[in-house]
């Protein structure tokens, strides 16, 4: 999934029949691992009810199409979550989690008196 910000909504009367009744949003993606080409905006279907200005998680590809129902829908992006809070380590601080040992569980060498 990718992260993006909702910048608008799209309306259309002349459209594919399978898009009837579907809400379409305009989002500006800001975290995308493999964009097919330089994309400024993406138009996903919104089954969750996001508004302008909210950050959303968008599902791409075939799962987005199949999750929207049994009729073949001509979409490949769907909003799947509205972000309340995002925590992201900056690029310089993405190290491995350090190993720590609980003092109670580390093997202790017991001496018998």
């Amino acid at each position: 999934m990718i992260l993006g910000r909702v910048v608008g909504e799209l309306w259309a009367t002349r459209k594919h029949a399978a898009l009837e009744g579907r809400k379409l949003l305009i989002i500006a993606p800001y975290l995308w691992y493999a964009p097919a080409h330089e994309i400024g905006h993406l138009v996903p279907v919104d089954p969750v009810g996001a508004g302008v200005g909210e950050d959303v998680v968008v599902c791409l590809g075939d799962p987005a199409r199949r999750a929207l129902g049994s009729t073949p829908v001509p979409v490949e992006a769907a909003v799947c979550a509205i972000v309340d809070r995002l925590e992201l380590a900056p690029p310089g601080e993405r190290g491995a989690r350090p190993l720590t040992f609980d003092t109670g569980s580390a093997p202790a060498h017991e001496e018998t008196s």
Partner: protein, 86 residues
């Protein structure tokens, strides 16, 4: 699957019903700066090395079996790496 390190967490209360209760974690490439948001079943933390299944197969990580068509997820953490040798 692609390899990534968990670099944070995404909190969301309003989600698609099929994702209710699922954790969403961003995982970043080691060398490059690409981030994918993936569903999680292994209770991964920030800093964990993971592989992320991307595409239709990601649904099988969260809900195995043929009845997972309604799951709105295209990336999921399939395993947490203990070690590797090259």
């Amino acid at each position: 699957m692609i390899r990534g390190r968990v670099v944070g967490e995404v909190w969301a209360t309003r989600k698609a019903p099929s994702l209710a209760g699922r954790r969403l974690l961003p995982a970043a490439d080691a060398g490059e700066d690409r981030v994918v948001v993936a569903g999680d079943t292994h209770d991964a933390c920030e800093g964990d090395d993971a592989t992320v299944a991307v595409g239709s197969g990601a649904r099988n990580v969260l809900v195995p079996g043929p009845d997972n068509r309604a799951l709105l997820c295209d990336a999921a953490i399939s395993l947490l790496v203990d070690g590797e040798s090259r």
